[in-house]
Symmetry: C2
C-alpha cells in the first residue's frame, strides 16, 4: 500500500491488491455474509419488536389487572355460548342459528358494564324494530306482484339505509344509538333480502331474536356479576384523580418557580411527573365523553343511583380543563430566562405560595368530597381562605409601587441594565404574570367548586357528619377548628 | 267569598261553594280535561322533538352536503350487494352465504376512504388468519379423539379470545387493529364451533372469504370512486382551518381588550364566534388522532403520496393546542374589572397590536403554506417581523419605569386609589399579563412554524416560485417587496 502526492498536486491513495483471486472472493463471501447479517438483523428486530410488545402488554396487565380480568370474562362468555353447540339438547333447541349468539357475544361484550348494556339494548331493540319493519315491507312487496317485488324491496333498502346512516351524523344519536343504527340497517337488509328467498321469514326473525337475547343476557350477566367494571365508577374516579393532579401541578409549578435556584429540589422524576399532571386533565375530554355516555345506561350501583347526573360530570370536566389551561400557560410563562429581582421575589413569594397552597387545598378538599361523596363542611372555609389569600396578594401588589419609588428619580433614569433599586417593568413581567394567572386560577377553581356543589345537590351527596371524612381530611394541614368555620368564612369571603 | 281575619289573628280565606253538585262535577271534567291536555302536551312535545331533530338534521345536511352524499353511497352499496340475491345467476354462484356480503357492506362502509380501507383490510386479514388457525386447531382436535375434541376446542376458544381481547388494550394495536382483533375472535369462534357440526369446513371458510372479498371490494370501489372523502384531506383541512381560527382569535382577543370602551365594535355575533375559535382547536385532539390513524391506510391521492407523514400532523396539532391554551388564558385574564391607566394602555397599545397582528400574520401565512402545500418565501420575513415586534414590546416595557418615576417620590406615597401618575402595580397587572402572554404566544407560534417546516421537509412541499401563492398572499397586508426579504430577515431575526 503506497501513499503519495499525485502529479496534479492532490492527495491520493494507491492501493495495491496482492492477488486477483482474493479480490473476487471477498465480495462474494461478503454478499452471503451481508444477506445472512441482514436476515439475522431482520429476525432480531422482529423478535425485539415482539419482545417490546410483550413488555408493554405485561406493563398494562400489571398496572391494570382489571383489564386481565376482562379478558378472562370474554373467554368465559365465549366458552359458555359455545356450549350451545357442543351440547346436543341445547343445539337442537336453537339450531344452526346459535351462530348469532356467538356473534352477539363477540360484538357486544365491552370493557365496562355501561358499554355492554348500551350495545345489548341497542342490538336487541334495533333487531326487533328492523325485523318488524322488514317483515311489514316484505308483506307489502309480495302483495304487489312478482314484478314490483324486487323494486320495492331494493328501493326500501336504499332509502332506509341512507336515512339510518344520516341519523348517525346527528350528535345526540351518535352518542347513544350509533350501534343501534348500524344494526338496524344490517337487520333490515338481511330480512328484506333473504325474505325474497327464504319463505319462513317470521320463524327466522324469531330465531334470530331469541339467539340474540341469549347472547346479550349472557354478556350482561357475566359483565355484571364477575368483577363488574362500571363506566360510572371509572368516570367518577377519573374526575377525582384529575382534581388531585391539578392540585399537585399547581403547587409544584409555583414552588418550582420560587425555588428554582434554591436547593429544595426533592423527588426528581416523580416530582416532574406530578408537575405534568395537568396535561392528563387537558387530554381527558374524549374519555370523559364516552364514559358519561355509557354510564347513563347503567343501573344503580355502589353510591350511584339510576338517575345519577352524569351530564354534570362533563360540565365539571370542562371547568377543570379550563383551569388546567391556565396552569399550562403559567408553566410556559415561568419558563423564561428573565429573572425577577430577588427582593421583589421575596416580597411576593410568601403570598404567592400561600395562595397556591390555599388553591390546591381547595382542590384537594374537592377531591375528598368526590371520593367520599359527602358534602364537605370545610370547603367554604377553604374557599374563604383562598379568597383572602387572593386579597392579600392584591394588597401585596398594591404596596409595591411605593416600595419601588423610594429612591430619587435620578437613579431611575439610568439604563435598564444597571442595577438600580427600581427594576424595569420588564423584569417584573414573569412575576406579574404569575400573580395574574394565580388570581385567574383561583377564580376558575371557584367555578369548579360551584360545579361540584351543583353536582352534590343533584346527586344528593350526604352531609359530612360522621368521622369518616375527618380521617381523610387529616392529610391536609389543619388550619383551624371546625367550630370557627362558619364565622371565619363569613368574614373572609370576598 | 268572604275574607277576614280569623280568631287566632292569622289571615285566612273562607270559600263558600254555591252547590254541592258543581263541586263534584268540576274535578271530574277537570280530570278528563287534564288527561286530554297531558296527552296533547306529550304528543306536542314529541312532535316538537321530532321537528327539532329534523331541523338539526337539515342543518347538518345543508352545512355538510358530503354527509348526504355518504348516505346515498351507503344506500347504493347495499342495493348493489342485494343484487346478489335478486339475480338468480349470481345467487347460484355464492349461495345463501351472500348474507355475509351484506353484513360486510353494512359494517365496513365508513365515512372516509381511510376508515373503509382500514376496516376492509382488517376484516379480510383477520378472517383469513382466524379461519386458517381455526381449521388447523379443528384438525388437531379431530385427531385427538371424540372425547377430547370439545375440550381442546373450548379451551382454544377461551385462550385465543382472552389473548386477542387483551391485545386490544395495547395502544398501538387499538389504534390500527382494534376491529381486526374483534373479527379474529369472531371468526375463530365461529369456525371452531361450527366445525363441530358442519363437516365441510374448508368450503365454508372459502365461501365466507369470497363473500367478504365481494363486500369489501364493493365498499372500497364505491367509497373511492364516487365523491371520495379522504381522511387525509379532512385532517389537512382541519389543521388548516384551526390555524386560521387561532389567528382570528388572537387578533380579536387583543383588539377587544384595547377597544373595549371604544366604539370600534363591528361584526357582533360573527365577531364573538371568531373570538371563540381557539376553543375548537383545544377540542380537536380526538378527531385529529382518529383521522391520522385512518389516513395512513389511504393510497396516494391529490397532493398526498402514500407515505405522507401523517404522524407529523399530530405533533403539529399538539403545538397548536399548546398555543391555544395560552390564548385561552389570555382571554380569561383580560376579562377582569381592573382597568389599566389610560396613558399606559396608550403607551403599549401600538406595540401590542403590532405584535398580535404580526403573530396572526405568521399564522395566516402558515395557513396558506398548508393550503397550497408550498413552502412560503415570506414566512421567514413574517417570523422576523414577529420577533422584532417582541423586541419592540420588550423595549417598550423597559422604558416604562423611567416614565413611571418622573414625578417626585412623595406623590407616589399617596394611597393607591388616588390618581397619581405612578399606577400601582396592581393596575398594570392585566396589561403586564397581556404582554407576557403575547410574548409566550409568539414563542409558541415559532414552535408551530418549526413543526410545519419539518412537515414541509418530510412531505416535500414545493418551493413557492410561481404566481399562485402570491395571489393568495395578497389577502395579507403587503409590507415590503419580495427582494428585500432575505436581507430584512437577516437583520430583524433576533
Amino acid at each position: 500500500m503506497v501513499t503519495g502526492r499525485g502529479d496534479s498536486g492532490t492527495l491520493e491513495w494507491k492501493v495495491n491488491i496482492p492477488g486477483g483471486k482474493s479480490e473476487t472472493l471477498v465480495p462474494e463471501s461478503g454478499f452471503v455474509c451481508r444477506i445472512w447479517r441482514g436476515l439475522r438483523g431482520l429476525v432480531e428486530e422482529f423478535l425485539l419488536k415482539i419482545w417490546r410488545f410483550l413488555e408493554k402488554a405485561w406493563g398494562i396487565g400489571v398496572d391494570e389487572p382489571r383489564k386481565l380480568v376482562h379478558c378472562l370474562k370474554v373467554g368465559l362468555a365465549l366458552s359458555a355460548v359455545s356450549l350451545f353447540y357442543y351440547m346436543r339438547p341445547l343445539y337442537d333447541g336453537v339450531g344452526g342459528n346459535a351462530m348469532w349468539a356467538v356473534m352477539t357475544v363477540v360484538v357486544v361484550f365491552e370493557y365496562t358494564v355501561g358499554a355492554t348494556l348500551s350495545k345489548s339494548i341497542n342490538r336487541t331493540a334495533a333487531t326487533f324494530l328492523a325485523g318488524s319493519l322488514g317483515i311489514g315491507i316484505h308483506w307489502v312487496a309480495t302483495q304487489s306482484g312478482e314484478r314490483f317485488e324486487p323494486i320495492i324491496l331494493g328501493f326500501s333498502v336504499f332509502i332506509l339505509a341512507a336515512v339510518a346512516t344520516f341519523s348517525r351524523f346527528v350528535p345526540s344519536v351518535k352518542a347513544r344509538f350509533d350501534y343501534g343504527a348500524s344494526i338496524f340497517i344490517l337487520t333490515f337488509s338481511l330480512v328484506s333480502v333473504s325474505g325474497y328467498r327464504v319463505e319462513k321469514l317470521i320463524g327466522l326473525a324469531h330465531n334470530r331474536l331469541s339467539t340474540i337475547a341469549i347472547g346479550t343476557s349472557l354478556c350482561i350477566i357475566i359483565s355484571m356479576l364477575f368483577c363488574p367494571i362500571w363506566a360510572g365508577d371509572e368516570l367518577h374516579s377519573l374526575i377525582t384523580r384529575n382534581l388531585e393532579k391539578l392540585s399537585d401541578s399547581l403547587n409544584g409549578c409555583v414552588a418550582e418557580y420560587f425555588h428554582r435556584n434554591g436547593t429544595v429540589v426533592s423527588g426528581g422524576e416523580d416530582c416532574s411527573k406530578k408537575l405534568q399532571g395537568y396535561k392528563c386533565v387537558l387530554n381527558s375530554k374524549a374519555t370523559e365523553d364516552s364514559m358519561a355516555n355509557f354510564a347513563i345506561w347503567e343501573p344503580a350501583h355502589g353510591n350511584f343511583n339510576f338517575r345519577h347526573p352524569w351530564k354534570q360530570y362533563l360540565k365539571l370536566g370542562a371547568s377543570m380543563r379550563y383551569c388546567a389551561c391556565c396552569i399550562e400557560a403559567l408553566n410556559g410563562c415561568l419558563d423564561t430566562e428573565v429573572e425577577a429581582p430577588e427582593f421583589l421575589k421575596e416580597h411576593l413569594q410568601d403570598v404567592c405560595m400561600i395562595l397556591s397552597s390555599c388553591s390546591s387545598n381547595v382542590l384537594k378538599e374537592l377531591m375528598i368530597t368526590m371520593k367520599t361523596m359527602r358534602r364537605s363542611s370545610k370547603i367554604d372555609f377553604f374557599v374563604g381562605e383562598m379568597n383572602s389569600a387572593v386579597q392579600d396578594l392584591q394588597n401585596g401588589m398594591k404596596s409595591l409601587p411605593t416600595m419601588l419609588s423610594v429612591p430619587p428619580p435620578n437613579t431611575a433614569k439610568g439604563e435598564p441594565g444597571t442595577k438600580t433599586t427600581i427594576p424595569p417593568l420588564m423584569e417584573v413581567l414573569p412575576l406579574a404574570t404569575l400573580v395574574s394567572l394565580l388570581i385567574e386560577i383561583a377564580a376558575r377553581i371557584e367555578a369548579i367548586v360551584d360545579n361540584i356543589d351543583e353536582l352534590a345537590g343533584l346527586a344528593e351527596f350526604k352531609s359530612a357528619k360522621d368521622d369518616k371524612p375527618k380521617q381523610n381530611q387529616s392529610t391536609i394541614t389543619p388550619i383551624s377548628d371546625n367550630q370557627d368555620h362558619e364565622t371565619m368564612t363569613a368574614i373572609q369571603k370576598v
